[in-house]
């Protein structure tokens, strides 16, 4: 019960508390404290030092352990920098956005943890809807037209998508008709245990609906649009949260249903659908990297790309699955750094357009370097982690699937890389004739500190590749019926 209270109830209470106490400083400190507690507990559980009992509808398995760790890791750092971020000047209208900031953050944490931990489709659905509700007002933080539009679109599209996911869940119950599952409730493990009995037609249908519905939240093309708008207009910490953890919260649902399908005859079909989705996302990112002229949208598209890559990895299975899991970790961490640096740049230049941002390397040297390093990390340059996870995914696709697919993936990635690079270097190095070349001084605040720490963590995980993570990922793979030699 303790674990449950720390993981879910405590954030809820904190949210309530933040509603009562208006003082931002107090809100901040208590939220950080809660985030820290959450992180420590998750970490302890992840290490397997401590097993906690959860009430019905909730349970731990290796997958939720892993994703919960990612979530609470992202959340902790984001909350840590939030205060500094809130201190920044925003328009007077946006002042009121600050009031609900921590409230919503805590609510976000609670709902996300619940969604990750829930082992019942109904509960999962409810909590996922809650995550949407928690994050939508945060998107509206800036209180301007773009933010409003983004929030509306996100809220509406995702709600519709989630509704479709619900239909999928109902189909799942249909598929259970006339089997031993008849009359039992919608627990994952029940279904996984007796997946072979399920009616394939309804199973396929439910997979399609759940995958497409949740895609609006994961950002799998062509349902990515609402996600892009939201991520690009939300304040940077929120954007980091969304790219890092919220998408995974949705992904976990798809993985559950996929896990159910794997032993059945519809496995091939589901794989194909996932691969199509992943490729479409890569293609979308590939297309929009040519057009995009707003650096936060660019980062959002990069999230689409990487989630697509993860989906491909999951679909391919084998070593690629392991790669995908690693990729989820690395992508989450790297995205934080990218979005935080982007936030610094935004607060300096007051614009999100690439053309208007120039010579960052000299004007904001520290941020500039962090931005550059994060770019190298996200585009898979060693020693940063994504290099290794990408290699695993490529290898998997190459050996388990056909190399032609790999060729496509590589071509897409290559051009995404080239165009992203062009944009990044335009921002970092390009300068006007009369502009200064002498580097100006940039204050060192907690955002830089956090970014540096995260990059170090990234390299550390990648290079040392701790056995506990590997074992956990292997367990996840085992749940998905994947055995590695």
């Amino acid at each position: 019960m303790l674990g449950f209270s720390v993981l879910i109830l405590l954030p809820l209470l904190t949210a309530l508390f933040c509603y009562l106490i208006k003082n931002l400083r107090v809100q901040y400190s208590i939220s950080v404290f809660v985030g820290f507690l959450h992180l420590t507990l998750t970490f302890i559980v992840f290490l397997g030092l401590y097993h906690i009992q959860l009430p019905t509808f909730f349970s731990f398995d290796s997958l939720s352990k892993l994703f919960l760790l990612i979530l609470s890791n992202v959340y902790f750092w984001v909350v840590l920098v939030s205060n500094t971020y809130l201190k920044r000047h925003v328009t007077s209208k946006a002042q009121e956005g600050k009031k609900y900031y921590f409230l919503l953050l805590n609510f976000y944490l609670a709902s996300n943890s619940a969604a990750m931990l829930s082992d019942h489709f109904g509960m999962y659905w409810v909590t996922v809807e809650m995550t949407t509700l928690s994050v939508a007002p945060l998107i509206y933080y800036y209180r301007n037209e773009e933010a409003l539009e983004a929030m509306w679109k996100y809220l509406f599209v995702v709600s519709v998508g989630i509704a479709f996911a619900f239909i999928g869940i109902l189909f799942l119950t249909l598929s259970a008709n006339g089997t031993s599952l008849q009359g039992k409730q919608l627990f994952f493990w029940e279904f996984i245990r007796s997946a072979k009995e399920l009616n394939p037609i309804w199973l396929k249908a439910s997979f399609i609906f759940i995958f497409v519905g949740l895609s609006t939240k994961i950002g799998i093309a062509p349902m990515h649009s609402g996600d892009i708008d939201a991520t690009s207009n939300a304040p940077s910490p929120i954007a980091a949260l969304m790219s890092g953890s919220l998408r995974l919260t949705a992904l976990i649902g798809v993985m559950r249903i996929f896990e159910i399908i794997i032993p059945t005859s519809s496995y091939e079909f589901a794989r194909t659908i996932l691969i199509i989705g992943g490729l479409l996302s890569l293609f979308t990112a590939f297309v929009f990297m040519f057009k995009v002229n707003n650096y936060k949208r660019m980062l959002a598209y990069s999230s689409v790309e990487h989630l697509g890559l993860i989906t491909l990895g999951i679909a391919t299975g084998g070593i690629a699955f392991v790669g995908a899991m690693y990729h989820a970790i690395y992508n989450a961490i790297t995205k934080i750094v990218l979005f935080l640096s982007a936030g610094n740049i935004h607060s300096k230049f007051k614009t999100r357009e690439v053309e208007k941002v120039k010579n960052v390397m000299n004007i904001l040297p520290k941020t500039g370097w962090l931005f550059l390093l994060a770019f190298l990390a996200i585009s898979g340059i060693p020693p940063f982690g994504i290099f290794f996870s990408e290699i695993k995914i490529f290898e998997g696709i190459f050996f388990l699937d056909n190399p032609l697919l790999l060729a496509f993936v590589m071509i897409f990635l290559l051009f995404i890389f080239i165009n992203m690079g062009k944009i990044f270097f335009m921002m970092l190095y390009k300068k006007e004739e009369n502009e200064t070349t002498t580097t100006q001084f940039e204050g060192f605040d907690i955002i830089h500190l956090v970014s540096i720490l995260l990059l170090i963590i990234l390299v550390a995980i990648a290079v040392s590749s701790p056995d506990v993570i590997y074992q956990n990922i292997l367990n996840v793979a085992k749940d998905f019926g994947i055995t590695l030699k």
Binding site: F211, P222, F288, I391, K430, T437, T439
Partner: protein, 659 residues
């Protein structure tokens, strides 16, 4: 396998450690001190490394047993050691040049610390590439090499051209790493291992190995700069800081050669078409590389194109070696690979010499355009002499090292023709003529460079020409190496022969390489040198007797000649460029006014790279044009978002039904 703590291992590992430690010294506040300390420590590390390399594998027979330290991730076979030798040999004088080069930047109070960090990392990762025995380690060090090279190029990051050129390098290196992924996946698939020492494939088994060969040639060829994969090279090398472009041209593009040879070791013996393939690509690279070089005015760009030419010559050697291994002729193999390896060493030496020399000039004149130089010999005689040595060497003219390696390759041609009769002689003769043609072009090009840069009178007034002792030291070392290898090639040929005999030629090694009458060269060249010396003394005496003075040059009756009347680089090369206008994309713009009071007339000529301006950029533009056409995804209306959900669900359901 001797004990872990033998002197070799300690020396070797400590060398790397010291090189790495040098970064720590950059925390010293004062940039001058920091640079001096870091550079010195780095030098110590490199020198130690060089000693350990020389002592370990090349001369003595003691093998470094690092396997036991790094779990077989690292191995020093002869090939790797030879390239390690090259890297360290080039790195030492280049690092010495750092002292003077970077101090220029410090005086412009520009921060050079990050550059030094990247430089050190570049050196270390490059050394790791050649000793890596495991695919992932290899790829990691390869990527780090590329990326640190890129970051180092960004020293003058505010310049437009720097951003452009370095980005070419960046993109190209990313392309090739993907190709290498696939290649290593294939190797892994074939052998089930990630370790180089387990890769023994034979061409006969199916289609896979040929694919591996092609991939390796493309992937590593991009790095090496074979045409038509060279397009990034003339963009990147000119804009890099001189130290870096010396190292890039001297060593890093050789990593491509290393890769190709390494892959050859995995899949030898190769069939004959592979040899011909490489021969033809290489001769094209050689001829057009030097021809492009002839059309350039930017000295570093010109040198970059010469790197392409020399890579071509190396490739020719490799091609002969392949043909030898295909027909199982150890003699041909030895000559071909020997020429290639020795030329790799030589090119590393004289190309770095030339780049550093041009860097010294650039530092003082502030331009890379040779049309604005001239008369430097009157300012800095010894720089001119050292540069001249490099030029003679790179033109493959005796008595310096360039000639030696080209001679080996020629001998390889003759050998091939002898061993395999019928139509081989005429084909080989074609290549001989091609190589001779390349030599002629190189002579034309470097006479142009030297005369326009150093000789004559100053086209653009030079206030003061500042040279530091470090310039002379680093250039001097390189020049000395050129001369030594030229006059006394035996030991170096011996090293190369050892490498080949132990790694390449499996069956009954031949001694064709050593049996060339090297003694003759030593004798002849020394006779020439002595003869010139004695004539010089004699001439001095006679001039005392009959008198000697200087007078203004004869202007054909025209009295006041001014520097702008000198022959320019473009006019020197004009006739040759005219011949190959279309390939060179060579444009001339002449503006002569025929008015009564003529205005000053203009003339300018420039040459774009064919592959870059006619293939790479257009295709990228075309692609982006196509992509821009794709509109349906970029809808802003929420109803379309919902519509997409509906559509995609229908499509998936259709798939489900058809399944």
């Amino acid at each position: 396998m001797n004990s872990l703590l033998n002197s070799d291992n300690i020396l070797f590992t400590s060398a790397f450690a010291i090189q790495f430690i040098s970064i720590a010294f950059l925390f010293i506040k004062d940039q001058h001190k920091a640079l001096f300390a870091a550079n010195t420590v780095l030098l110590i590390g490199l020198t130690l490394g060089l000693f350990s390399t020389i002592s370990s594998a090349l001369f003595s027979s003691a093998e470094i047993s690092l396997q036991s330290i790094f779990f077989n991730f690292i191995r020093l076979d002869e090939l790797g050691t030879f390239f390690l030798f090259i890297i360290q040999l080039v790195a030492i004088p280049t690092t010495i040049y750092n002292f003077s080069y970077l101090s220029h930047y410090i005086e412009e109070n520009r921060s050079i610390k990050s550059f030094v960090i990247f430089y050190v990392l570049l050196l270390i990762s490059t050394q790791f590439i050649v000793i890596a025995n495991q695919a992932i380690l290899f790829l990691v060090s390869w990527e780090i090499m590329s990326i640190t090279g890129y970051l180092g190029m960004m020293l003058e990051k505010e310049k437009e051209e720097v951003q452009k050129g370095s980005f070419y390098y960046f993109a190209a290196s990313h392309v090739l790493i993907f190709i290498l992924y696939i290649m290593f996946f294939l190797l892994h698939q074939q052998t089930g291992s990630w370790f180089f020492s387990d890769y023994h494939l034979s061409f006969s088994t199916g289609i896979v190995v040929p694919i591996i060969f092609i991939l390796s040639f493309i992937g590593f060829g991009i790095k090496a700069g074979f045409m038509p994969f060279h397009f990034w090279l003339p963009q990147a090398h000119p804009i890099a800081p001189t130290v870096l472009s010396a190292f890039l041209s001297g060593v890093i593009i050789k990593m491509g050669i290393y890769g190709i040879l390494r892959t050859y070791l995995f899949i030898k013996p190769v069939p004959e078409w592979a040899g011909w393939f490489i021969l033809i690509v290489s001769i094209i690279s050689a001829i057009f590389g030097v021809w492009y070089a002839l059309a350039q005015h930017d000295i570093k760009r010109l040198l970059a194109y010469h790197s392409i030419e020399n890579i071509g010559i190396i490739g020719i050697g490799i091609g002969i070696g392949f043909i030898g291994s295909a027909n199982n002729l150890p003699a041909v193999e030895v000559l071909g690979f020997g020429g290639a390896l020795l030329h790799t060493l030589n090119h590393a030496i004289f190309k770095s010499l030339l780049f550093i020399g041009s860097g010294v000039v650039y530092q003082n004149l502030g331009t890379r355009n040779i049309e604005l130089m001239g008369g430097i010999v009157h300012r800095a005689k010894y720089i001119a002499i050292l540069f001249l040595i490099g030029s003679v060497a790179i033109s493959g003219v005796p008595p310096f090292n360039g000639f030696i390696s080209e001679f080996i390759i020629y001998t390889g041609f003759f050998k091939t023709a002898n061993e395999l009769k019928n139509f081989y002689p005429i084909l080989m003769l074609m290549f001989v003529v091609g190589l001779a043609f390349v030599g002629g072009l190189a002579v034309a090009c470097f006479t142009k460079v030297n005369s326009i840069m150093f000789l004559g009178s100053e086209r653009k007034a030079v206030k003061h020409f500042y040279t530091s002792i470090y310039d002379y030291i680093s250039l001097g070392i390189f020049a000395l190496l050129c001369i030594v290898i030229g006059f006394y090639p035996q030991p170096f040929v011996g090293i190369v022969n050892k490498v080949i005999v132990s790694n390449f030629v499996s069956s009954h090694p031949s001694s064709a390489l050593i049996n060339i009458d090297w003694l003759f060269f030593t004798i002849i060249f020394s006779i020439i040198a002595l003869g010139i010396f004695f004539l010089f003394l004699l001439k001095g005496k006679l001039e005392k007797k009959f008198g000697k003075r200087t007078s203004p040059a004869w202007g054909c009756g025209y009295e006041n000649i001014n520097p702008r009347m000198q022959y320019t680089a473009s006019s020197f090369a004009d006739e040759l460029n005219e011949i190959s206008k279309s390939v060179l994309v060579y444009h001339k713009k002449v503006e002569v006014s025929n008015t009564a009071f003529p205005l000053p007339s203009k003339f300018e000529s420039h040459s774009n790279d064919f592959v870059d301006s006619k293939i790479v950029l257009p295709s990228y533009k075309f692609l982006s044009f196509l992509v821009m056409k794709i509109k349906f995804l970029s809808q802003t209306d929420i109803r379309y978002y919902i519509g997409f959900i509906l559509i995609i669900i229908t499509i998936y359901s259709l798939i489900a039904f058809l399944w």
